[in-house]
Symmetry: C2
Subunit: 243 residues, 2 copies
Amino acid sequence: MNQRQTVAERGGAGRPGKNGDGAERHEEIHRSISDAIIEHRLRPGARLREDALAEVFGISRTGIRKILQRLALEQLVTLTPRRGASVTRPTADEAKDVFDARQMVECGLMPEVARRITEEDLRELRDMARRERQALKSGEQSTAIRLSADFHARLARISGNATLADFVERLCSRSSLILAVYGNPGHLGCESHDHDDLIGHLEAGNGERAQAFMGRHLKAIEASLSIVEEAAEAPDLHRIFSD
Amino acid sequence: MNQRQTVAERGGAGRPGKNGDGAERHEEIHRSISDAIIEHRLRPGARLREDALAEVFGISRTGIRKILQRLALEQLVTLTPRRGASVTRPTADEAKDVFDARQMVECGLMPEVARRITEEDLRELRDMARRERQALKSGEQSTAIRLSADFHARLARISGNATLADFVERLCSRSSLILAVYGNPGHLGCESHDHDDLIGHLEAGNGERAQAFMGRHLKAIEASLSIVEEAAEAPDLHRIFSD
DNA sequence: GGCCGGCGATATGTATACAATGATCGCGCA
DNA sequence: TGCGCGATCATTGTATACATATCGCCGGCC
């Protein structure tokens, strides 16, 4: 296949083969795909063919494979041997696990977050909440979903624990997938004012209240899902036709 | 390079190119390297050259790279662009984050574990604890370290939450690295009788006590570390020679 | 005598070619 | 006419070849 994209990109950089070039390009592509999945522009089950992606982004399959593997480890895509990659379709069990994990970690982090939060953080969080509300109001679901996930991830990072923050970030990404499969259309996960209320508790330095509120918030999201295990691959015919 | 190993392996399988073959082989190699790191047979900082690994395991660099990337995502190896892979040397900050995370998650899991644990689980855990004690006594540090990590991971899995169990498993692997860097020789992380005591609390169905005990257990491990940030790469010459 | 710059070696990053496998579609047969 | 079977095709898995950047060494220069 031709490589017009590659040439254009490299030509623009001035000197071909610059060091950070490749790595940053990969990072960029990873984020592109990741965002598309989180924003539900790629629905669960969508197939991701290596050739197609390679052509779109103007790199060879080698680089695409690397990125797909990373996405697979983040459980955003599923790699079926000899069958290729597709956007992960979370099971009901996984959905429960993810929300239980968020309940434990995000709530547990709130006291520390309340202790460490700065004015700068508060300003940024308020801005994110505002943009999210705005996106919701103007019907930009994709943007709202991503901003919501970003909000939770950003919050966790304030705790100062990078390991737990990374974990929360991945849980939020997966939650977005779960919403895509089990969410009711028109009823987004996070209520528009919830995040603002949470910011209020944190601003007041009330970690306990923030923790409790986060707990209710997550429970509310989980409760809004209609988790009905749609006939899986390999429906149990015996059970279905037993009577 | 020749491929005698590959031929031998494939030939032994009976039919060449069997489906699971490649994937399982990769899994096996991943575990080999992972174990070597966890068991401190590969010390932090050790370089992992692709050619050398490819030759040792009888596959091409392509497969090795895939495995190295996975290990990097699990934060067991560090991939420096253009410099290759090396066993991760955890910083003091990372060590603190990892143990704080374990404190939150492993302790938080105990009540559910106490609720769900079965006789079969108890038997298995006791066996692992026994083998660990035995390894400690006979001076097989490597084995003891791995068994200790396995014990904690196994415990978390009983909770039924695969997501959190995976997380704990990775935290334990990283803890092993941390022990390699900051641990005092001759003083292994987990006291030999701690795990047995923990099993006792779980057998009694006392989740709260198990939770508290796990908390003390982890704190004890963390306290046994001598975390002194050894002069990092790029010593701050200004600060050093300012007086 | 010490430092800077060039040069060769080594190892990684990338692309491509080839091989193998699973899926799809068409054909023949019952 | 429906089903089973076989060939072709599309797609992934693997290895290898080539380009490129970095590291260490050595010689010249200040």
